[in-house]
């Protein structure tokens, strides 16, 4: 097994792991965004809240989420460690520098650190509270299956593990934690919306370099595909953060 350690502790090996975790996190962004888009529904959060329940209890999703958390930590740790080593590779800096590279590509460490801080804030607000808080609000939905009419009522004081979803006499009753309400309340605060929009701009810059850089590190550079990867990476790095940022802005104004 010696060679495995040698391989992944070499500079190229650490880069490979950074690229693999980074690209995996890109796929996570897509899944996370698709879920979040349900916040645009005007259904008082029925779709979003049942989705949140599914994502936190499904065994397959829970298994993948372990991979996700370790990828975030691994990507951050490797990135910071490489940034530190790279800094040490030039102990005396130049008096004058005229860069011929793109700004984002030179500042991946700073951008990544800002994203990490954002993730900490983001998770301690929604993820941690959803999982652990005792007084978390609940909502009861009654959906008339024939007419599609939905009536809701807020519930509180329920045990944090409660989830109800059944159909009786043509009425679907759902009682779920009201994460939708949490989002709504959070994004009524302007500074919070601004924090999210800025963080998504930071993410956009990080992705604009990171996406195509990941493929290069994997050795996937080819006359036929590299221009397509770069183009797709640019579109990806603009569209995904834009869609994420649109959610708090939409909630603030509605």
């Amino acid at each position: 097994m010696n060679w495995v350690i040698t391989t992944f502790s070499s500079s190229l090996g650490k880069k490979l792991l950074t690229a693999l975790t980074g690209l995996f996190l890109c796929t996570f962004l897509v899944v996370h965004l698709l879920g979040n888009l349900q916040l645009f529904y005007s259904d008082e959060g029925l779709a979003f809240n049942t989705y949140a329940r599914f994502m936190t209890t499904n065994p397959l999703i829970k298994t993948v989420s372990i991979l996700l958390y370790s990828s975030i930590l691994g990507h951050a740790f490797l990135g910071l460690y490489l940034a530190y080593k790279n800094k040490k590779a030039r102990p005396v800096s130049y008096a004058s520098v005229n860069n011929q590279s793109v700004w984002a590509s030179r500042n991946m460490g700073v951008l990544g650190t800002m994203i990490l801080l954002f993730i900490v804030v983001h998770m301690s607000d929604f993820w941690y509270e959803y999982h652990n808080e005792d007084g978390f609000p609940f909502k009861e939905y009654k959906v008339e299956l024939l007419t599609g009419k939905v009536s809701t009522s807020a519930k509180s004081g329920l045990d944090k593990g409660v989830y109800v979803d059944y159909v009786q006499d043509g009425v679907r009753t759902v009682i779920a934690k009201d994460l939708f309400l949490e989002c709504k309340e959070a994004f009524e605060q302007l500074w919070y919306v601004v924090l999210y929009v800025i963080s998504m701009a930071v993410l956009a810059f990080h992705l604009s370099h990171g996406f195509q850089s990941g493929f290069q590190t994997l050795g996937l550079n080819h006359k036929k595909y590299t221009s397509a990867i770069k183009w797709f990476g640019l579109v990806f790095s603009i569209l995904i953060p834009l869609a994420f940022a649109a959610i708090p802005v939409y909630m603030y104004f509605s």
Binding site: T6, S10, K14, N86, A89, S96, S101, V102
Partner: protein, 255 residues
């Protein structure tokens, strides 16, 4: 003289490896725009010698842009402002009368300054010695057509072999990474049948030595390729990554 230039030079002066070093400012007068940058330095050094001062030490050899000896980080860019050109092929017509030019040595942990603008690039030699060669049978010269090589492969190998090992890639990289250099040397031999017998060992050993020498790692900024006087492409770095992992996962070397 008409059409000549007067310039202010801020040059890094450092007595030896252990000296702290500092910038010194010099004035040069009546510089012809047709002089090369190094010839302008020759003029400055003549001035210094006639004043009894120590001339500025700088590396140079062929002055034809092919040996890779000259270095100099000029106004924030290795080999100065032009694309695909070494310092010796940079001419004073690229500057304007009255300009202030800042000249620094390559800056990298693995390239310690020996004196003034001269850095020790023997870390590159050690990387080459660890695998950048082919073991050939001695004896009569073989017929060139014995081994058939596709034109495209030959061209690609040649584009990598154009690397003169000057170290501008390391100087330009914000991480002082040597990956463009190492990848060119690995690529050049990986594309050719002559390089095949030692292909895996070469990739493993050269990357290992590169890490040991204290170069940074690549963050794909592309600054190296943009500043390379031989315009070595980033494709070679991708190929090095493939070569290295291909070797690591399939070679007989278990260490």
């Amino acid at each position: 003289m008409s059409g000549t230039m007067n310039l202010t030079l801020k040059v890094w002066r450092q007595k030896n490896k252990n000296d702290k070093g500092a910038f010194a400012t010099y004035q040069v007068k009546d510089i012809s725009p047709d002089m090369s940058f190094l010839e302008m330095f020759d003029v400055l050094n003549e001035q210094l010698i006639s004043k009894g001062e120590t001339p500025i030490a700088f590396d140079h050899d062929c002055r034809e842009g092919i040996c890779g000896m000259c270095s100099m980080y000029i106004n924030g860019r290795p080999h100065g402002p032009l694309k695909g050109v070494t310092t010796c092929q940079l001419h004073m017509r690229s500057f304007h009368d009255g300009d202030t030019i800042v000249v620094e040595p390559w800056r990298a942990q693995a390239f310690p300054v020996i004196k003034d603008l001269v850095v020790d690039r023997s870390s590159f030699d050690r990387i080459i010695a660890s695998g950048g060669f082919v073991s050939v049978n001695t004896g009569n010269t073989k017929d060139a057509n014995n081994i058939l090589i596709g034109k495209e492969d030959a061209d690609e190998a040649f584009s990598a072999a154009a690397c003169i090992g000057c170290g501008a890639c390391v100087a330009a990289c914000k991480n002082a990474s040597a990956m463009l250099f190492v990848s060119a040397k690995i690529s050049q031999l990986a594309m050719l049948p002559q390089g095949d017998p030692e292909r895996k060992r070469r990739a493993e050993n050269m990357v290992e030595t590169m890490d040991e020498e204290g170069f940074g790692s690549c963050t794909n900024t592309g600054a190296c390729s943009a500043e390379c006087p031989k315009e070595i492409s980033l494709e070679h770095i991708a190929r090095m990554n493939r070569e290295y992992f291909g070797a690591k996962f399939t070679s007989q070397n278990v260490k």
